[in-house]
């Protein structure tokens, strides 16, 4: 944020400092005043804590099977019950946080980097480069994301890495568009002209003036994309196109349970409900955080 503030403050050094402090305060006030965003942050913090310290927190080895305890219901030893191979569901969910969140983050990181490069190039260079790149993005956008992801994974072969890559690719256009429109609004600003007048090269202008000032919408969009990425990766795993067994990925845990048939609805509901709840909670939390960020960072909405 400070970088952004400095960049924004270049035209008026004194006023800039004041404005910088004001912005951060505004951000905190709006974001932390938003109860949903706060709840989301708390839940995500819990998931991240689980992911970081999984080996310490998890009560059991997430891979240890006990075929005699197939779909055993929750007990005092196994708080969330056991799955179709008698593995402890709680431990698998805790380890699963690592897999699912990392996979989601990796996909978003990929989409963000590629999307930013494309968006900045299109927005800053303009002309035919803009047209070509954005039409390309439109082509990708024309397909439903999950369908396109399925096609990509089917071509590359099912694995968690390929699922991450596929989800990353299908989310590139959204980010590229957001970055492009931000860059276009910033491009003609006085401080960009000033940099250029001072003799800065294109790369330097992008780095010091354009990017920092396009960051707010990018952060919001990337956060919202994280939510869909987590969901899409879970969906791919559910279809058998993502994490390979016995990886405790949340979507894969669902499919493992479902494969046992109609009976699972009677005897093994816990094996469906808990991974489902984990996916839902993480997606909701990230969405709340994203909404909170948007409210806090978008000056128009703030007014």
């Amino acid at each position: 944020m400070t970088e952004q503030a400095q960049a924004g403050a270049q035209t008026d050094v004194v006023g800039g400092r004041v404005e910088s402090r004001g912005r951060w305060r505004d951000f905190r006030r709006v974001f932390f005043g938003n109860r949903l965003a706060l709840t989301g942050t708390a839940v995500m913090a819990l998931f991240i804590f689980c992911a970081l310290f999984a080996p310490i927190i998890a009560p059991y080895d997430p891979y240890e099977q006990d075929l005699t305890a197939k779909f055993a219901p929750p007990t005092s030893q196994h708080w969330l019950g056991q799955d179709e191979l008698g593995r402890d569901i709680l431990s698998r969910l805790i380890y699963g946080a690592r897999v699912s969140l990392t996979a989601g983050l990796a996909a978003v990181a990929f989409a963000t980097v590629v999307g930013t490069v494309i968006g900045v190039t299109a927005g800053y260079v303009g002309r035919w480069v803009d047209s070509v790149l954005m039409r390309l993005m439109d082509v990708i956008l024309a397909f439903p994301t999950i369908l396109l992801a399925i096609v990509i994974v089917t071509i590359l072969g099912p694995s968690l890495t390929n699922a991450m890559l596929a989800v990353g690719i299908v989310n590139v256009p959204q980010l590229a568009r957001v970055v492009r429109s931000a860059v276009i609004t910033v491009r003609e600003r006085d401080y960009v002209e000033a940099e250029r007048a001072l003799g800065a090269g294109n790369l330097q202008i992008v780095r010091t003036a354009i990017l920092p000032n396009s960051l707010a919408p990018l952060i919001v969009q990337a956060t919202l994309t994280l939510a869909t990425a987590i969901l899409d990766i879970a969906a791919l795993s559910f279809l058998g196109l993502g994490a390979r067994p016995p990886t405790p990925e949340w979507g894969a845990m669902l499919t493992d349970a479902f494969r046992s048939g109609f009976g699972v609805f009677v005897t093994g509901q816990h094996a469906i409900i808990f991974p489902g709840v984990a996916i839902a909670l993480s997606v909701l939390s990230v969405n709340f955080i994203g909404d909170g960020l948007r409210d806090a960072l978008d000056p128009r909405q703030r007014r």
Partner: protein
Amino acid sequence: MKIRELSRREFLAVSGMTGAGLVVAGCGGGETIGGEEEGGGDGQPQEGGTFTFGRGSDSVTLDPIHATDGESLIVCRQIFDGLLDFEPETTDLVPALAVEVPEPEEDGLVYTFPLREGVTFHDGTPFNAEAVVFNFERWMNSGNEYHAGGGPQASDFSYYSGMFGGFDEESIIESVEAVDEYTVRFRLREPQGPFLRNIAMSPFGIASPAAIQEDVEEFWRNPVGTGPFRFVEWNQGSTVRLEKNEEWWGTDVPVEEGGGGPFVDEVVFQSIDDNTSRVAALAGGQLSGADGLTPDDVPTIEQDPNLKVIFRPPLNVGYLAMHTQKEPFNDVNVRRAINHAIDMEAIVQAFFGETGEVATNPMPPTVPFFNEGVERYPYDPDRARELLAEAGYEDGFDTELWFMPIPRPYMPDGRGIAQAIASDLQEVGINCELVTFEWGTYIERTGRGEHPMALLGWTGDNGDPDNFLNIHFNSANATEENALNIAYYENDEVDELLNRGASTIDEGEREEAYMRVQEIIMEDAPWVTIAYTRPPLGFQNRVQGYLPSPTGGESFNSVYLSG
């Protein structure tokens, strides 16, 4: 023989294009239907009513010779009769359109079938020796005017070429002639051990020559046979409707020999691809019966006071094949070690429940010449480690274990079973990466031998040991493409025994050959056999007289609705 082929439903389920099909992917495509007769009902069978049978996917064609999938064949089974049939619930032979099961003549080169008199096709034309000749000539001569039809997904008479060696000069059947109006004589180019069993298979149902001559291209959706039910309408993708054939020849034949009935006025085959919805429709009373249940559905249905479960006699085997020409599986000690390392009792208990039993031989005990004397390698991880050490793998090794992406009748949960097997193998130091592909790709790649270890299975179609042992262990089937011998097992002695078993009609000689093959296979351990499955079917309690066939395609003539 084409039973492992990819059906449209399976394709959709795997590729995830249908919302509903995803979850259940399973329901086992075509070949699961069946069970055990329960009590047989009390007193006289009642006439009338509609028998609605829910299944996982629609038929592909109703011209039996073009059908390869179970869902097409079970419908054809109602409309057509063959010369011979399998006795209900077994794979023993009984006469159908023939009056008796013929004895081989001239050392198995000639078979003479006396035919049933007074039988008419559903279109009113008479059944006679000429009709039989017409059908066989249509099937076996690729130049025949009527060697055509079958619809858009016709298999090109593949069951004929598969069971009888090929068409024209390659056909094992050299000629079929009408000796008189009700006698037909087959002349073979060479003796064939399973000949009569092949003749009894449902693809070889006799069709009305008049109907085929009228429009061979449209016959696949206007089928005309002599069977207990006649075709009414086919609403593609959803229902096939049949009505009772009042003039069926089998009404006075004893039920044990495949006769009796038909009792219900109407039979409706209803396709519901989502397994959960199908089971729910059964529980809700919209279906009289349903196939494609998973092992976990069994207790659910048994607990419902209005429903019952019937098990189909097993005619299948699920297995783990090791590529015997790749390291380290080219060492018999490694293969035996893997056999010792897996606790199959626990796995079968957990994944098959009541529906399966641990397999020993590569064919189920319902098949003749099953060798009772062969025993599995006992579960013994210590022995497995010793054997691995002898083979030079004290520290184990890393490999891949391939598993099927969708449930099959012979293996309801390949994904779960693979995880359980990998966990057992890890105990003895073998680390397996679990690998899978979309189902069509899976069959293609295993058929090219790209796997080190792969799960797969087989549903038999005529109950002959040749149909299990020859296809899986004859080196002739260890081909570069579309291999059925995916262990790539090659053993000259086994080849010689299998060829002898297939080409002789001497039962004693066949028995000796197949018995010995099973012993050698256990010694050489190209597979870890997993289970024989009794696929479960669910029914309303009022459904009586359902006699499931191990082959998966039974006649509904004996079915009636009580109360």
